[in-house]
């Protein structure tokens, strides 16, 4: 199947590619103005880019999570566990063994997929609340291990420090614009993979499982295989996100992988519309940057965050961009 590129998507793509230029020209404008003693109230380009990188990272995670609750209909409350596996796999390989990011990241993805399958094995027959509880327990378990483990991570609170920047042809990629294109490429690859999967035989099998497991099984869909595939792909994407996060953050601690992150990512796909790729992206774009955009409100910003969520759910209960179901 070919991916059809509409004009809208092409325009969006070009805009997204040119965003760093825009933020840095804002910097130049501020500089030019301050030379003339005018203070322009525009935040710095690097800061805007950092917010964008964070939003893109959440988009990637939301797309990965979306595969399980969105495509196969199983509520996953422990997605952050895979994010953590990816972050610590890449972080430890790079900081302790000095491996290149380009090796560590794929290994992190594979390791994530393995953990996805490991978690999948005992949960294949579970659905609904029971599945959700197991996923929650799983991520909490990983979180506790990382927080307390001494032999591998070497200490309390899971500090892994001085993770080096990825090296590309002798250049260290640590500038914000480099990180921006780095996550943009990962994100586009993820979108392509997830989109292709959704519209393939596999995607339709997942949709069948979501709508009615028994009916799907009676039609000859191998539940074990398709569910395992969904868990593995979803976990691998989460782990890639984790690997990116590790090198972006430089010093990581267990605190970044708390249960709240799982809920936040889940909120993104619920807000955007479960099962929809563009929905996940829009949801992540909003919730992934809202906390920061509301910073001027000071202490009240999470209050406003909550009010916006409630309003959204009041006016669009099925999510911003809900999927059209065929047939």
């Amino acid at each position: 199947m070919r991916v059809k590129l509409s004009t809208k998507i092409v325009i969006l793509f070009i805009v997204v590619c040119l965003l760093p230029l825009l933020t840095y020209s804002a910097d130049l404008l501020v500089q030019w103005a301050s030379d003339r003693d005018i203070s322009l109230p525009i935040p710095s380009g690097d800061y805007m880019l950092r917010i964008l990188v964070q939003a893109y990272l959440y988009m990637l995670l939301a797309l990965g999570l979306n595969i399980v609750p969105g495509f196969t209909g199983l509520l996953d409350l422990g997605y952050v566990g895979f994010y953590l596996v990816g972050g610590y796999t890449a972080g430890l390989l790079m900081a302790r063994l000095g491996w290149s990011y380009w090796v560590a990241m794929p290994i992190a993805a594979v390791n994530g997929a393995i953990w996805g399958l490991l978690r999948g094995a005992p949960t294949l027959r579970l659905t609904g609340d029971y599945f959700a509880i197991v996923t929650f327990g799983f991520s909490e378990l990983l979180f506790r291990v990382v927080k307390n483990e001494e032999w591998l991570i070497g200490g309390p609170n899971g500090f892994v420090t001085d993770i080096p920047a990825p090296n590309l042809l002798g250049h260290e990629l640590y500038h914000y614009w480099q990180q921006y294109y780095h996550i943009l490429i990962l994100l586009i690859l993820t979108i392509v993979v997830v989109h292709r999967l959704q519209h393939s035989r596999v995607g339709r099998a997942w949709a069948a499982i979501r709508e009615d497991e028994r009916a799907a099984e009676s039609m000859g869909i191998n539940l074990r295989e398709y569910k395992s595939l969904a868990f593995a792909v979803s976990a691998a994407i989460g782990a890639v996100g984790g690997a990116f996060f590790a090198q972006f953050q430089v010093n990581i601690s267990a605190g970044a992988f708390e249960f709240w992150e799982s809920i936040l990512i889940l909120c993104m796909i619920v807000l955007g519309g479960m099962g929809s790729i563009s929905g996940s992206i829009v949801g992540a774009a909003i919730l992934g940057s809202l906390g920061e955009l509301l910073r001027p409100f000071g202490g009240a910003r999470y209050l406003i965050f909550g009010i916006i969520l409630i309003l959204m759910m009041r006016f669009r209960p099925a999510g911003l961009l809900s999927i059209r179901r065929h047939g």
Partner: protein
Amino acid sequence: MKTRANFSTISLVALVVMSFTFMSCEQKVEGIKIAVAGPFTGNIAAFGEMIKRGAELRAKEINAAGGVNGKTLMLVFEDDAGKDKEASLVATRIATNRNILAVVGHFNSSCSLAGKPIYKRAGIVELSPGSTNVRVCEGSDWTFRNLYRDDFQGGFVAKYIKNVLTDIQKIAIFFDNDDYGRGLKDGFTNAAQKLGLDIVATEAYDRDNTDFKAQLTSIKAKNPDLVFISGLYSQAGLIASQAREVGITVQLFGADGVDSPGFLEIAGDAADGTYVSTPFVFELGGSEAQRVAKAFEAEYGVAPDTWAALTYDAVGMIVEAIEKGGENRKAIQKYLASMTTPEKGYEGITGLTYFDKNGDCIKPAYVKVVHDGKFVPAEKQMLDTEM
């Protein structure tokens, strides 16, 4: 569709409002700007509040005395909510704002570590008044702190026991299974073994627990002369009262995590006689510390704590670096990095601060003891910093 129209109007209005506030968040600079970053919201906002007040009080006093090089000192408060992800965003915000000359912060060790690479790349000083994790200052010339590290404090407690509480030989350790409790325990154990103290039991507890009798009973069986509680006040309070219940009557010792009025409230009578170590005691500070404590209380209606005092000093250090070093980021770093001996150190209300090659500071710890339901300075202090 009607709902759809409503929805787009609301989101449009929301967007416009948001972009306005987003844009109006900065004002024209007239004076010297330094940032103060800490957990001003979130579940440890109580610490953030004290940090904010300590910094504000110092800025007010400096400005009343004519400012910095004749210019007004302006503080920019940035909230990291105690989370490392937010800390990196805040750090980027600060580091890329060329008007800000230095940062006092962050409080949590994880936040200081998150900000470290960003401050290092941008070349701006990060001076933490609260991060005690061993790794915070390693590997960056731009990160400093004005209090001791977890391992120093653990070692200090062991040394204090050896030198002051001389009849104690057998020690039991009861530690919080978290970074703070463990770092402290490790420092304590290492030093205690070197000093020839006998550690007869090491038990862990989880911060979510409220019942510690099982571990306490097994500690009692080892018959120690002293129990070192390596954790925070809320659990330490319960541990103290439950220890008395299971029949442990020996000396209790805690570190700065226990140094809180909360400990006295929870433990009640059981707290009496407990020793705690802490980075600073206002009562033992000089006349300047007494004056600041009074001014603080007059301003905010509550007594200042250790963190307020350390932040008060941190702001003062940065200002001294600006006045004596120069009004730019590099000059501030150079000045702080040159403070490597007691003679070149900064004399603040929390004592003399000077740095080692990492930017860690060499500073004494104080000891307090609970007497009649109140913390009072212990009779004997041990203020040398040789380890």
